[in-house]
Subunit: 300 residues, 2 copies
């Protein structure tokens, strides 16, 4: 199971107590940070996100509302004595900015920061239980989306039944990967006698800031959760296009075309004091939609 916690859901300027974009995707033992607007480290404290579990950070693009909080988070983790490695996946130019800011402060991080520049579409992280792909999205500057996929989970072992069949524990790993067992007498013990089906591997697609773009559809088809920006309500589709952003109807259309399980909408413009109109509009096109609300954890 994956769990996504929203730390910021606003676009450009912080307003009405809404913060710029940042999300935490919690996997098994680890967590990923997706974008890191100003104040993200304060939001992590507020919502009790453990920094020690954070091992990868993904930055979609270099507009400030998606990364101005990063340098503060990186240096705070150093001041707090972090020792584990940290992996940062981001547009190439970010490395120079970080190096310059550390240089002028005469600061050295006390942990290893591995910078992985985003260069081409494809797999960028391949952890034990998760893989992450990046894909290009259409925005005013270079911008990337991310697709997070759990790896196929192992089947659940029924140890009691395995013991009855006298299967040696050395074979348990193979059982969990679907193999049948053949005992000394040559009798086949079918796998489903001693295991049950694994929970389904889940997927999450994050589309960052993007204009309405049907080329996105094949990249996110069938995911369990799609995050698509909705900077504007549907009446402002012209403004959305001119600023390389999307509306409620456009986000919901991508979700519908991509046949995703659920849509999460966010990156609301600071022109909207309340968000009341966003959900009904999106639901006109794609019913299983939720608003990205700060502090809320969405189970995937």
């Amino acid at each position: 199971m994956l769990a996504l916690t929203i730390l910021g859901n606003n676009s450009a300027i912080p307003a009405f107590d809404r913060n710029p974009t940042a999300q935490i995707l919690q996997t098994y033992e680890e967590s990923y940070l997706i974008d890191c607007g100003e104040g993200t480290q304060m939001q992590m404290t507020r919502y009790k996100i453990r920094r020690s579990k954070l091992n990868r950070i993904f930055i979609s693009h270099l507009h400030g509302d998606h990364y101005y909080g990063l340098i503060g988070l990186l240096t705070s983790m150093s001041l707090l004595g972090r020792t584990q490695d940290l992996h940062l996946h981001a547009p190439e130019a970010l490395e120079q900015i970080i190096k310059l800011q550390l240089l002028v402060a005469d600061t050295h991080l006390c942990y290893q920061l591995h910078f992985h520049p985003l260069k081409s579409e494809g797999i960028i992280a391949d952890d034990k239980k998760m893989s992450v792909e990046c894909f290009k999205v259409q925005h005013r500057i270079e911008c990337w989306g991310f697709l997070f996929r759990e790896k196929k989970n192992p089947r659940k072992l029924n140890a009691e039944r395995a013991a009855i069949y006298e299967i040696p524990s050395a074979f348990y790993d193979k059982l969990q990967h679907g193999h049948d067992y053949v005992n000394k007498k040559g009798t086949i013990i079918p796998n489903d006698e001693v295991t049950t089906a694994a929970t389904k591997a889940k997927s999450y697609a994050y589309c960052a800031d993007t204009i309405y773009d049907e080329n996105l559809v094949h990249k996110i088809t069938g995911v369990d959760l799609l995050y698509h920006e909705t900077t504007y309500l549907k009446d402002l589709h012209e403004r959305a296009a001119s600023r390389y952003h999307s509306t409620t109807h456009q986000a919901a259309s991508i979700a519908k075309l991509g046949n995703v399980k659920k849509l999460l909408i966010g990156h609301f413009s600071s022109k909207y004091e309340t968000l009341d109109a966003f959900l009904p509009e999106a639901c006109e096109v794609f019913e299983n939609t939720e608003l990205a609300l700060e502090g809320v954890c969405y189970k995937i």
Copy 2:
């Protein structure tokens, strides 16, 4: 009269709902921002500080807790359509960081930002009613303090009495600057017949981050309000020295030696959950001390 509003009073890492350093000094029609830790733009919104009145920003040094909020504030003011010029006084290297961050975002500020690098001690701003000097303080990296002085205020004119003496209004400006009036008959009208004394010009010294340093005393002697950092309580004077910071007793000693009217202490270490012990300790050495508390406006 000057008024100082504290937007952040914590050191290094945001903690216990305390934010990194930022202060607003309100003068007549304008306001100055002194340091700009992460989240300053949110704190300005929270405490209803009008950005339109902000015309100068002073950055003491390039440790993140004193400037990571600057780039977000600068770009937000542009997004909000600011047109007035803005003056930024800061260590030289900051200009390159800002330029690089604007470049990668393909962003141009829609107002004129004048960058004034801090190079030597002396007057750095000379506005109609205020002058600002910078002076060096001792910290781990290049660091500056700032001294804000109101200019001598004009005397208050009693227009009714001036009319009785038939003094032409063209002479009022001279009256406000202390001149006597001689009428056509050669009679001298003494200035204090038609004016009253001006309010006293006030002064504020901001000592940024500094180790205990008695060389500071002559720079801040006699000011109406002195802000001196107190990262630690008095028992941690060795840690304070090793990190180029100060304790309660040290800040209060500088205030006492400088014979200032009032001392304001801040930049509290994140190791302290509550601030209860700071004020009593400082008052042992210098009685007229106050804690810098976020959201509080201190009249000078």
